[in-house]
């Protein structure tokens, strides 16, 4: 059983986690947001992952021209791929995200831990000063 217990993560939580993880490895926010959206769409389509794994992608060469996200985005941005084939490229992005239900993301412990570790890089270390000044 992975994060979120038996009911898994909501798609919104999964999208946010993937976006933060993508930002955590250094992607610009605009690309990281697209990675999150792609991951959400792949889960919602209940499609088993194919091609390169999402984590492998994140931990190797994200943001390069030949990476699946960049290729998928370029094709879709240009309208050269129809929505479905573009989404197939997106789906490749979540190869490691084992999806069991249409409406939820069920991730293995390992995948969850690695994604969380990457996402954690986007959080500023807490200081007494930030607690006193910045919090709402």
């Amino acid at each position: 059983m992975g994060v979120g217990g038996v009911s898994g993560l909501s798609l919104g939580e999964f999208e946010a986690l993937v976006a933060k993880a993508a930002r955590g490895v250094g992607l610009p926010w605009g690309l990281a947001a697209e990675a999150g959206k792609a991951a959400r769409r792949a889960i919602a389509a209940e499609t088993p992952g194919a091609g390169e794994g999402f984590l492998d992608w994140l931990e190797t060469a994200p943001g390069r021209a030949e990476c699946p996200l960049m290729k998928g985005l370029r094709d879709r941005d240009l309208g050269e791929a129809d929505a479905e084939s573009a989404d197939l490229v997106y789906r490749a992005v979540v190869d490691q995200a084992q999806t069991l239900g249409l409406r939820r993301a069920h991730l293995s412990e390992t995948v969850t831990e690695r994604l969380n570790a990457l996402a954690h890089r986007t959080y500023a270390p807490a200081t007494e000063e930030s607690r006193a000044r910045g919090a709402g």
């Binding site: 947001a33 959206k37 941005d77 000044r133 910045g134």
Partner: protein
């Protein structure tokens, strides 16, 4: 229906470059299109039924209760957990870990096993998990001023002081109402096609409405613990009790992160105002309805208190504005042709930002038949509209960005004061915070919440490219501009999508963002406790569930 009497409202739409300034957004008030009012109209019109199938609370105020709302097709149940919270643990801050009461809105009618499952999670809030059977997760704390007063008075067989009830306005304050997939709750996309949930934040508003009934029940319960013959709250006083809310920075980024949705909210409201301004004349009963709203508004503003140094003078000015407005109307301002357009222009010239915006809200009141249907236009398909058009030419993107972000191009972001602030998320509570860029080690963690600065950088980068190059090719070479390019394309299609202000300036007031969003909820009596958190009142004056369907299900909003 008399939509044909509203010629060319387009011509009366306000300019987004003015409406979308923070100073303007921070002066908004509730309208007929506020989410609480959309909910209440539906609950009354569809004859929703309410009851409390479970109340198991002990003498310490610990236990659970269920509040059921039954509509024409579906039932929703608020699962409430009452806690015995030591006074020293009561905090409105998002970093709190215990509350007087915690809640989840369940989709349907929960079994005992469902309630047991929730009992192991809901009291822990962010540290627990809910499931796709739940729509919201929330919590509330007692008002340490009013709650004990009401309990003590009822226990003594008396009613609370009306002045005390009016001065506070609620027995409990919610400090967060999470929905839309947060902490495991169901994603909005799976329930958005239900008519009762299609308008924004309806599950959240229903949760708060049912929480309001709980706050009264728990106060009466605690009074009965002290004295089995305690008095019951006078129904008229119950109406005066809304639900408080304390909102901090966590809400502020929402308005920046959801440009298409914000456009739809703003556009519905602005379209409503334009329809009224386009009316060639005002009928006698419409003038009377406006006069009644103005009378109620004067009372509401008279009861609106705050000690915030920026807000206290604004409320004094607003009281003065309403007196001026009353004099102006009494002198015949609504007689003759184009009465509402003339009135709006007068207000924009003669009144403060708060007065102008309150006049705009009040002008929509007599015209439910022109306004209320716009509620159907306030939801947005953000996924569909959030796709970048890579075939656009760089020259065209530059031109539209220059048009939308003219204010940003005139801002000198080399000046420290123009980028003094930095939005970031701290590892401690995973909530957005606002820091000082040049005084704290936070810039490496900056969130993408400075569209003005980023748009300016985009325009400068585009100036270096061939105007005929596609945006897709540009973004392959410069992916760091993707977010700004997409925002510019969205703002070109949706005129009210983008805030026309610098959200990282030293001068920026986060409460302007909070106020804008809370006004769309239908909040009243904004009471900032600093420049970054604000207390409000919700549902004050509204009929209680046991009074529904009430004849005044929409007439209460200015009486709070």
């Amino acid at each position: 229906m008399s939509i044909e009497t509203a010629p060319e409202p387009e011509a009366f739409l306000r300019n987004p470059a003015e409406v979308m300034r923070l100073s303007s957004m921070g002066a908004f008030h509730q309208t007929r299109l506020s989410f609480m009012r959309i909910l209440m109209r539906r609950l009354a019109c569809e004859n929703w039924r309410f009851d409390r199938p479970l109340w198991e609370v002990d003498a310490n105020g610990e236990g659970r209760a269920l509040y059921r709302a039954r509509g024409p097709e579906r039932t929703y149940t608020l699962v409430a957990f009452a806690h015995d919270l030591p006074d020293d643990q009561r905090s409105d801050r998002v970093i709190a870990e215990a509350w007087d009461a915690t809640f989840a809105l369940f989709d349907g009618e929960p079994t005992a096993a469902d309630v047991d499952r929730l009992a192991g999670n809901v009291p822990y809030q962010e540290a627990g998990r809910v499931s796709e059977r739940e729509l919201t997760l929330s919590r509330a704390n007692r008002s340490m001023r009013l709650f004990p007063h009401v309990v003590d008075r009822l226990a003594a067989g008396e009613q609370p002081d009306t002045e005390e009830v009016e001065a506070v306005g609620y027995l409990m304050r919610t400090t967060a109402v999470y929905g839309s997939g947060k902490f495991g709750a169901v994603d909005r996309e799976f329930v958005a096609d239900r008519p009762e949930l299609s308008a924004p934040f309806q599950a959240e508003m229903l949760s708060v409405y049912l929480i309001r009934a709980f706050t009264i029940d728990i106060a009466e319960h605690m009074a009965r613990v002290k004295n089995p013959d305690a008095a019951r709250l006078d129904p008229a006083l119950k109406r005066r009790l809304g639900v408080g809310n304390s909102t901090g920075l966590g809400m502020a980024p929402f308005l920046i992160k959801h440009p298409v949705l914000i456009d739809h909210w703003m556009r519905a409201r602005e379209e409503g105002l334009a329809r009224v301004r386009a009316l060639p004349e005002a009928k006698q009963r419409e003038k009377e309805a406006f006069g009644e709203t103005l009378e109620q508004a004067k009372g509401q503003v008279a009861r609106w208190g705050t000690r915030h140094p920026l807000y206290a003078p604004r409320i004094v000015a607003l009281r003065d504005d309403l007196a001026k407005l009353e004099t102006h109307v009494a002198a015949g301002a609504l007689h003759g042709a184009d009465p509402w357009d003339r009135l709006y222009r007068w207000a924009a010239d003669a009144l403060s930002d708060d007065g102008r915006e309150m006049t705009a809200s009040m002008m929509m009141e007599p015209y439910g038949h022109l306004i209320d249907g716009l509620a159907d236009c306030m939801a947005a398909d953000e996924d569909r509209h959030g796709r970048l058009d890579g075939r656009m030419r760089c020259g065209d993107l530059k031109a539209l960005a220059e048009r939308i972000y003219g204010f940003a191009l005139e801002t000198d972001f080399e000046e420290r004061a123009e980028r003094a602030r930095c939005w970031y998320v701290s590892e401690e509570k995973l909530e957005p915070r606002l820091g000082e860029r040049f005084e704290e080690p936070i810039e490496d963690y900056e969130q993408p919440l400075a569209p003005a600065r980023d748009a300016r950088a985009l325009v400068h980068a585009l100036a270096e490219r061939d105007a005929d190059e596609t945006v897709a090719a540009f973004l392959m070479a410069a992916p760091e501009h993707r977010g700004a390019a997409l925002r510019a394309q969205i703002a070109a299609k949706f005129p009210f999508a983008e805030i026309r202000d610098n959200t990282i300036s030293a001068e920026m007031l986060p409460i302007d963002l909070l106020r804008c969003k809370l006004s769309f909820f239908g909040a009243t009596k904004f009471d900032p406790r600093s420049d970054r958190w604000v207390r409000i009142t919700m549902f004050q004056g509204a009929p209680l569930p046991d009074e529904m369907p009430a004849a005044d299900a929409d007439g209460w909003a200015w009486a709070g």
